[in-house]
Every structure is written in structure tokens, then in C-alpha cells.
Amino acid sequence: MSESKIYCCREGITWVRDLERVVVVDSSSNRSWRLQGQEMELWELLNLGYTFPRAAALLSTVHSQTEAESTQAIERILAGWVETGLVQECQDG
């Protein structure tokens, strides 16, 4: 049985889409991140309200990947975001 994880944005995070990148700022810590490529796309999809399966499906189409590959990529990106403090694992609700 696989374990389900919930990730959420940290409080105070704001972001903006430039032509070829997304800039994310955490005003509480004065930190910022520049996201490009698949990270940028995932960030936008999550903020547009896409579900995990829909995001994975869309990214697999855009990048000619299998959905399993996209799923792995998303999990890898989320883990990286957790590591750098952009998102955190959180409780549902």
C-alpha cells in the first residue's frame, strides 16, 4: 500500500510568471527562487488548481513522456522544493 503525502506552499509565498521563468518570493524569510522548465510548468499547474494525475498527464503530453515518468518527475520536484523550503509536507484540511 503506498503512502499518500500532502505538500503545501509555505505561508507568505508569492510568485510571478515572467516570459521564461517563474520567480517565487517568501517575504517572511526574504528568500527567492527562480523556476524554469518543468518546475515552472508544475508550479503554474498547481496554482491553477490541477490535480496530481491531471498535472502528470499534461506534463507527459507536453514532454512526450509516459505518465509514470512525469509522476516520478513531479515527485522529484516536490521533494526538491521541500528541501529548499519552498513547500512543506502538511496535514490535510
Binding site: I13, T14, D18
Partner: protein, 334 residues
């Protein structure tokens, strides 16, 4: 530079006003006390600043305005007053008596058509009395503005042959009307057209902060240069000090935070603190295209007003359940 706001009170209700909200939120007193004013002059002394820039609200409504001006004079500092021109007679008498080389009064003029002629007539009278101490200014907050009345005002009044143009920038608390950067090219074309007329009358245009290089066509830039305008694209927030001696980076950025003016405060140190607070946002311009712009890359243009750039940001709140569902939450932020 630093602006001293000596009055939180104003007798106008300009839709683009960026000064109303910050002091209201900070609970500032209506007028600065002479003691606090002296402390702020000490701050300017410590910072090596020899020009006192008085703002409001409407600074000339301060009941002891002449006394404050006298205190500035005693320090041997030059005076720059930002006014809407609807000043009490005693304030006008005070300013009109100052040596021309020590005093500039920037009279902010709104378009007389919606404003009504009494206010316009008063500004004309004020500029006449001030003579070369006076200079009209105009804030652009919508794309369909007209500047023709300013040319007539300059020529009739005998004030400085110059017009200061400002772009209305957004305050982060959403409290004012401002010109959206999408409208900048249209505004740039109008300014260019006016610059050609102004140059014919030897009237110089001065551009305040937040203008960007790309809003002007090469032809309009040529016209601005011909009018004697010093072209520089900058966003260098000038410290604003409240009647309660709270300092903000500049009015539009007031929401970023304020710092108390202490007995040892010094302008460059305060500016450094505000720069640190705003640094993450500095990598973003007013347009999505800014990062790839050659003018930004060469350092010629900073990408416009920082406040307008920050207004592009949106809150990033979502929850994603891996292999399950993503849920968006919240909608607050700048």
C-alpha cells in the same frame, strides 16, 4: 535625499494619491510637532543632506508652516516643497519671500477640466507669486491625459520653464488609482507629442521615477532630449519620514515595512535596510519581458517602479496530495 511629511492633512482628494493610506494606517498625528521637526532636521544633518523636502498631505496647511520654514533657513538648508498649490495666503507669502536660489516649490496640477476652474485659477495665482521658485508638476494616472493646459500655465505665470511629470504608481495596499504599465506606451506617445510642443516654447520636461525606456519610441526620445529632459530610468526610493517620525522606503512601498527614526538614524543605513527588505523583488520588472530586455541587462533601465513590479506577484497557496488531488487555498496577498 529624504522627504519630510509635515502634514497628514490635505485639502484635495486626488484619485492617484499615494500618501493618504500609509499615514492613516500608521495612525500619524495630523501635523508634525516643532520638536519632532527639529529631530528630523538633525537626521538630515547627520545624513549630510542639505535639502529639506517638505511633503504631506498638503504641507502648507501646517498651522506653523512659516515657523518650520524658518527652522529650515536657520540650518542653512535649501527647501523643496511639494504642494497642490491650494495653499493658505500666509504660506504663500512665506515662500514667495524666500531667495529664489534656496527655494523650489513644486506645484502639483491636476487637469483643470474635471478639477474646476477655481482650483486652477488659484494655482495660476500661486505660480505667478512664486515666480522662478515655482514649477508645475503633473501626475499621470490614466492614459487619456492632456498636458496642453500646463504649457499655457508656464507661459502665463513666469514660473520656471519646466514641467515635472510623474507616473502614478500603485501603493501596495490597493488604495489609489495608478497607470498600469500596459498603458505606458500610450502615455509615452502623448508625452513625446507634448515634448515637441514644449520644446517650441523652451519648456523643459522632467521625468520623475518609474519611467521606462521602452515606453518611448526613438522619435519620442528625440523630442524629450530636444526639450532638455534629462533622460534617466530609475527606481531609487526616496525615504519618506512621517509626522510621527516613522520612516518608509517610499510611499508606494509603505506596506513593505517602516522603521523608527532614532537619535542615531542615518539615511544611508536606513536605505540599506530597505534595500535588503526589497531585494528579492528587484529581480522582477513591470513586464514579463523585462528579464530579456537589453536595456535592463545593460543596467540602463531597472525595469520600472518596484511597487508596480511587486503588484504583479500573486499568492502561491496550494495543497497537493500526491497521487490524489490538488486543492487551491486562499487568495490574499499583495
Amino acid at each position: 535625499m529624504a522627504n519630510l511629511s509635515i502634514s497628514a492633512v490635505c485639502n484635495q482628494d486626488c484619485p492617484y494619491c499615494f500618501a493618504r493610506e500609509p499615514w492613516k494606517e500608521a495612525g500619524a498625528p495630523p501635523f508634525i510637532s516643532p520638536e519632532a521637526f527639529e529631530q528630523q532636521l538633525d537626521f538630515l544633518d547627520r545624513s549630510g543632506i542639505d535639502q529639506v523636502r517638505l511633503l504631506g498631505g498638503e504641507p502648507t496647511l501646517h498651522p506653523r508652516f512659516s515657523e518650520l520654514v524658518e527652522r529650515v533657513r536657520r540650518r542653512g538648508k535649501k527647501l523643496l516643497v511639494f504642494t497642490n498649490g491650494l495653499m493658505p495666503p500666509n504660506a504663500l507669502d512665506c515662500l514667495a519671500a524666500l531667495p529664489v536660489q534656496d527655494c523650489t516649490v513644486l506645484v502639483n496640477c491636476n487637469d483643470p477640466s474635471p478639477d474646476g476652474s477655481p482650483a486652477h485659477e488659484r494655482r495660476r495665482e500661486v505660480l505667478r507669486r512664486l515666480g522662478p521658485r515655482g514649477k508645475p508638476g503633473f501626475n499621470i494616472y490614466r492614459a487619456d491625459f492632456s498636458l496642453d493646459f500646463l504649457r499655457a500655465l508656464v507661459m502665463e505665470s513666469g514660473c520656471q520653464p519646466a514641467i515635472r511629470l510623474g507616473l502614478a504608481h500603485p501603493i501596495l495596499s490597493n488604495g489609489n488609482r495608478w497607470l498600469h504599465p500596459n498603458q505606458y506606451p500610450a502615455a509615452g506617445a502623448r508625452i513625446g507629442q507634448f515634448a515637441r510642443q514644449a520644446a517650441g516654447n523652451a519648456i523643459r520636461l522632467e521625468l520623475d521615477c518609474g519611467f521606462v525606456r521602452c515606453m518611448f519610441s526613438p522619435r519620442d526620445l528625440e523630442a524629450l532630449t530636444a526639450s532638455g529632459a534629462e533622460l534617466g530610468w530609475h527606481c531609487n526610493p526616496i525615504l519618506d519620514v512621517s509626522p510621527a517620525s516613522q520612516v518608509i522606503a517610499c510611499y508606494p512601498l509603505a506596506r513593505i515595512g517602516s522603521l523608527p527614526l532614532g537619535p542615531l538614524s542615518e539615511a544611508s543605513a536606513l536605505r540599506t535596510q530597505f534595500e535588503q527588505m526589497t531585494r528579492p523583488y528587484r529581480q522582477v520588472g513591470i513586464y514579463a519581458e523585462c528579464p530579456s530586455c537589453p536595456f535592463l541587462r545593460s543596467g540602463e533601465c531597472p525595469g520600472g517602479c518596484l511597487s508596480a513590479a511587486i503588484r504583479r506577484f500573486r499568492p502561491g497557496r496550494f495543497e497537493v496530495a500526491v497521487n490524489s488531488q490538488i486543492k487551491r487555498t486562499g487568495s490574499s496577498g499583495y
